[in-house]
Amino acid sequence: MTGLTTLPPGGSEQAADDAATTAVRPPRHGARKRPGILGRPLRLLALTGASVIFIYPFLWLISASLKPSERVFDNELIPDTWQFENYTRIWDEVQLLTWLGNSAAVTLAAATAVTISSSVVAFGFAYFRFPGRNALFGLVIATMMLPAVVTMVPQYLIWNWLHLASSQIPLWAPNLFGSAFYIFLLRQFFLGLPRELFEAARLDGASYWAMFWRIAVPLCRPALVVTFVFEVQAAWTDLVRPLIYLRDPDLYTVPRGLKAVLDQFGEGGEMRWEIVCAASVVVTLPMILVFFLGQRYFVSGIATTGRKG
């Protein structure tokens, strides 16, 4: 709560780090600072050990995806025989390319829609003082606590009624109306902007939309990136909605397609673990790429939301 106000709005994680480690730190006078669990070398050792646990499953998966089918469960990390064909074969054996294209389209639509709509709504809540504001914002917060399953069935019925229940539209169209979590996050960033900026703009005759688009949006770009990247991750990895809405394999997203490959096995088919592993690697890699690109913003976004507890 209080920590948040000390951060520059949209400041990078590095800035937050520096603020926390340098500015707050009093002049050293020999005293030990924070009580750590262990000494520094031991900490690094422990962290390295933990890192191995966190990284190993990835490496194992990549290694398994390069092995021949009958050797997938062999646990040596360097395969005896490297079967790179696994990766060329998945494109022929399953419609992975179609699914990747579908996933990319749905994810892009979902993230773009939610970023634009949520920032517009968040600006409405942050800038204006209007009757009913607190009650409505309370409702926004309340919807965050509502389990998604309560609205799952009726939402399906609505799309069914619109004859869109077997399309990809239900996967992203709800994002056009903003999402409580991002509205909350972005409002916090907009509130951090000095009000004088807007008052000056008003004196210059700027419209409310110009204030949003020309002042608020450019200044809160990091927060918008956080929103976009969060939603990219959520949409890319979602399985529930594709399970409910997608019937036609040509429309599948990658998680839905992967599940379908597993189901073939459940129906008595032969389990092609090497295919499943290779496809899993292919779905995960874009997320890792997104993570590295948006990392700075991403981590600061999580830390910021966490501090609002």
Partner: protein
């Protein structure tokens, strides 16, 4: 506020349009400014505000409030998507208590959450404490811990099947290395949930980042004061660190619990599919939302599924309220300035 808005938009009492009005007393000036602001800006201001938030209002009505009412109504019917629908009164709710699958799935979900939430919080806190004051390296480790969060849950479910495989999986091989013969994680009912807990613990990086941010915000001088008072490391942790980060702990407790109670993808990926939907061979992995999903979209028991969703809502509500009440005593907000 509301009474004032009814007054006609009379011109502001002090007409001075100059940017710097003649200062009287600061407080009176502020009040006058507020009055003027209200009088002159109110009308188009309010309209613009509602225009800005209108997407959310529309979405709330159509995608949240409407469906909630519909779900409540449906829960008193036998709606199945095709056949004639009739009201069945409390029948669905009565059935909830007699359906053994409801009891099983609810117990599974509660047990899973009771194991996962405290474990993930404790481990995340330990990792975050380790990450403090390791300088540049913190960024690297933080990235490593966060990467699993980016892994799609379907892939996590697949990894679970592979790594926890009873005969050939890596986990049991490692255990075997230490002379422990591991259980059949994926088939033995007793071990399915612990296995899933371990699998999902892999993705605790988000919580680590939150704790790290909270820990960095603890004022240094508190530790120095504690040290002057001769407090041990444990005492400093117990009486300085924990209270100082209790806000973050509380937040992650609530969020993790709500998320755990709605666990779906990992369990569904590993144990359920279109073919074995009719059988319950993996009762130990039958989580509540998995069962709800099957009822709604595989058996098309939409009415019953709606009743199921309201039971889950109640369970989450009760657990959250208890957590809020209990936490109130322990959560400390510095200065309580909001």
């Amino acid at each position: 506020m509301s009474t004032r808005s009814a007054t006609p938009p009379a011109p502001a009492p002090t007409p001075a349009p100059t940017p710097v009005p003649a200062p009287e007393s600061p407080a009176a000036e502020r009040r006058a400014r507020v009055r003027r602001w209200r009088a002159s800006w109110r009308r188009h201001d309010t309209r613009a505000a509602y225009l800005f938030i209108s997407p959310w209002i529309f979405g709330f009505v159509v995608l949240t409030a409407g469906p909630m009412i519909a779900s409540l109504v449906l829960s008193f019917t036998n709606y199945d998507g095709i056949g004639p629908t009739k009201g069945v009164g409390m029948e669905n709710y009565r059935q909830l208590f007699e359906d053994p699958q409801v009891a099983t799935s609810l117990m599974n979900t509660l047990l899973f959450s009771a194991m996962r939430v405290p474990l993930s919080m404790a481990l995340a806190l330990a990792l975050a404490m380790l990450l403090l004051r390791v300088g540049r390296a913190a960024g690297f480790f933080r990235t490593v811990f966060y990467l699993p969060v980016m892994t799609p849950s379907v892939a996590v479910g697949i990894l679970f099947l592979l790594l926890f495989n009873g005969n050939m999986g890596l986990i049991n091989n490692v255990l075997g290395f230490f002379g422990v013969s591991g259980p059949s994680w994926t088939t033995d009912g007793t071990w399915v949930k612990p296995g899933l807990v371990l699998t999902t613990l892999w993705a605790l990086g988000g919580t680590v980042v939150i704790y790290l941010a909270a820990l960095r915000n603890v004022p240094q001088d508190l530790y120095e004061a504690a040290e002057l008072d001769g407090a041990s490391r444990w005492k400093a942790f117990r009486h300085v660190t924990l209270p100082q980060i209790s806000g973050a702990l509380f937040f992650t407790l609530i969020v993790n619990t709500i998320a755990s109670l709605q666990t779906f993808t990992e369990a569904y990926t590993a144990f359920f599919g279109t073919s074995n939907a009719q059988t319950y061979s993996h009762e130990a992995a039958l989580f509540y939302v998995v069962y709800l999903f099957q009822q709604a979209f595989q058996f098309m028991h939409m009415g019953y599924a709606s009743a199921l969703s309201w039971l889950l809502f109640l369970v989450i509500l009760v657990i959250t309220i208890i957590q809020v009440k209990v936490s109130k005593r322990f959560v400390y907000y510095e200065g309580d300035t909001r």
